[in-house]
Symmetry: C2
Subunit: 344 residues, 2 copies
């Protein structure tokens, strides 16, 4: 059989700041012959996640850095074109958790690859958004396992209109908490309160002093701070913690584009002063509970208690530009790239 | 009755750096007449604790700052000279938890004042060291409740020869952990391993790169980091955490004398990367369990599993100089000041 051509985005150089098309370039490569145990996947959607920025840097982190010259590692939703793996068949929709890449075709060894249902109830694409680690499962385990919400708690959410924040806030509402979102424009603030049911939203770009504004909007202080952002926002939240507060450390998007070493929060002392707990979240710790979590998320969707938004950009060639929207806060909900092959 | 004279140390100005006799001055004041519900205490020993440095600053912390002109707030061990409080009688030995002061005589309203036994088995003074929040109870609850040690865990201890570290390390040994201490001179390093039974000690003043040295001495990485120091030592420890590690945030003595805002740990990201947990410790959260904890500590002492050292300086007039030893790391075990009235 003729070898297939694969357009892919690869790491040409490690980015300084927000990644550009100088850092991440397109090339066409030939797909190698499929070996025993391998699966050839035609990617339909790419998941654009803040965590990928971390993997582009040469850091000591939870995954190896993406090597220079390597395809950008990503979660994708695709369809099996050919399978030499007993668990997967041609035509299956599959999701690869942080093992596939920003490319048209991926050869996967079956690691962290899961089959996705195509039963007409939900689009397979939803397994890259609401049923994925990056949108549904991360806030599910982050809020419930690490946050330990109690009815009546005040929950403060950073990047509240993002993929994780928008869901974590709604799950906190389901659990009877008062939920306040931090976001960067008035339209998203209205979406949080009017559509998603948040109790209040703070536009951090228009308030003079964020810590004072949080104190005003959260007069009973903050029991759970769900941290997607780090930096100044984390510092403002730390000044408003209640005794025994939980800080769910889910991400630090404000720091991912920094060069050199980044100081931790200046108000780190408040962790001691408030007998608070900061817990680091890796969703992969809960992989054996994903099915149960997805079942509960489906129940909430069907009961109308949970709403999600997919923010879809078309075309592999627009991926790098789309990715920058995560850092300017321009996306609403889960940011995906739809590739030419997509049929769902 | 003639009014009594009381020599006391008071906060003349907020210190910049290590407190000096310019900041903390001596004066003699008259003791006011005792009101209903009050107790007049003759102080025998003062407890010199790192936390007091925090209270000298105008910070947002877990206790109000000591007011300018106010006596330095401290835990003390003393004897009741006169009581208008039903729970205390003349001649009782009493310990006041962070409510008394660096002075000869204290009038206390009975708040956080506890009677201390004088049954011949232990000196009442021991209730300011091994049976106190500042030496025995803090490491007891910090290590056991927040650290959650499991047999075989590697425990890394900062300020390991200090009041808290020396006890926390031994409790970790009792629980079957491998314990490594960080300390600042060779004599204390030997004391940790040869007398207290630590598995290893690192003299942080003589190693080139502390993170590398921790990695060498802890090849299975660190499951519990008991943090008394903060700063560079915390950063070096964070780089060596195991997955699901616990950081017990007990103190940050390296930062107490800093001016202006102090950055949090530069390696804060490792909390996420290692699914770690940082927990802030205030021993007062466990006050209803102090008696049970003291009973268990006594058992360990009687079984020879726990050794403690009291580092005693004589004279109220030497208190400020003695206090500076905490910050140079010159003390070994619990630092106390013995006042002229002491009879135990």
């Amino acid at each position: 059989m003729t070898q297939l051509h694969n357009r892919q985005l690869y790491l040409h150089q490690r980015p300084v700041g927000v990644p550009t098309e100088e850092d991440i370039r397109m090339r066409t490569v030939l797909v190698p012959d499929l070996q025993e145990g391998e699966v050839l996947i035609e990617n339909h959607y790419l998941s654009l996640d803040p965590a990928i920025r971390d993997w582009m840097s040469d850091n000591d982190s939870y995954l190896e850095p993406i090597p220079l010259g390597g395809c950008i590692r990503s979660t994708t939703l695709g369809k099996v074109l050919k399978s030499n793996h007993s668990a997967f068949s041609e035509g299956d929709y599959v999701q690869g958790l942080a093992v596939n890449g920003w490319e048209e075709l991926t050869v996967n060894h079956g690691d962290l690859l899961t089959q996705v249902p195509n039963d007409g109830n939900y689009s397979p694409r939803n397994y890259l958004s609401i049923f994925s680690g990056a949108m549904g499962l991360t806030p599910y385990f982050g809020l419930l396992e690490l946050g330990q919400p109690v009815e009546g708690d005040t929950v403060l959410m950073s990047a509240a209109a993002g993929a994780v924040g928008s869901i974590a806030g709604q799950i906190a509402k389901i659990k009877g908490c008062r939920v306040v979102g931090l976001t960067g424009n008035a339209e998203k603030a209205s979406w949080l309160t009017d559509t998603l049911g948040f109790d209040a939203a703070i536009n951090y770009k228009t308030c003079d002093n964020l810590a004072d504004e949080i104190a005003r909007v959260c007069p009973e202080r903050v029991d759970i701070f769900y941290d997607n952002v780090g930096g100044d926002m984390l510092d403002a939240a730390l000044l408003n913690l209640n005794d025994h507060a939980r800080v769910v450390f889910c991400g630090a998007i404000s720091t991912y584009n920094s060069s050199g070493s980044v100081p931790g929060p200046y108000n780190y002392w408040q962790i001691l002063a408030r007998s608070a707990t900061v817990k680091g979240l890796l969703t992969t710790n809960y992989v054996d509970r994903f099915d149960d979590a997805i079942a509960e998320i489906k129940t909430w969707l069907e009961q109308g208690k949970l709403i999600f938004n997919e923010d879809i950009v078309e075309g592999l060639e627009n991926t790098v530009e789309a990715y920058s929207r995560l850092f300017s806060g321009a996306n609403k909900g889960k940011l995906l790239v739809k590739l030419a092959a997509a049929d769902c």
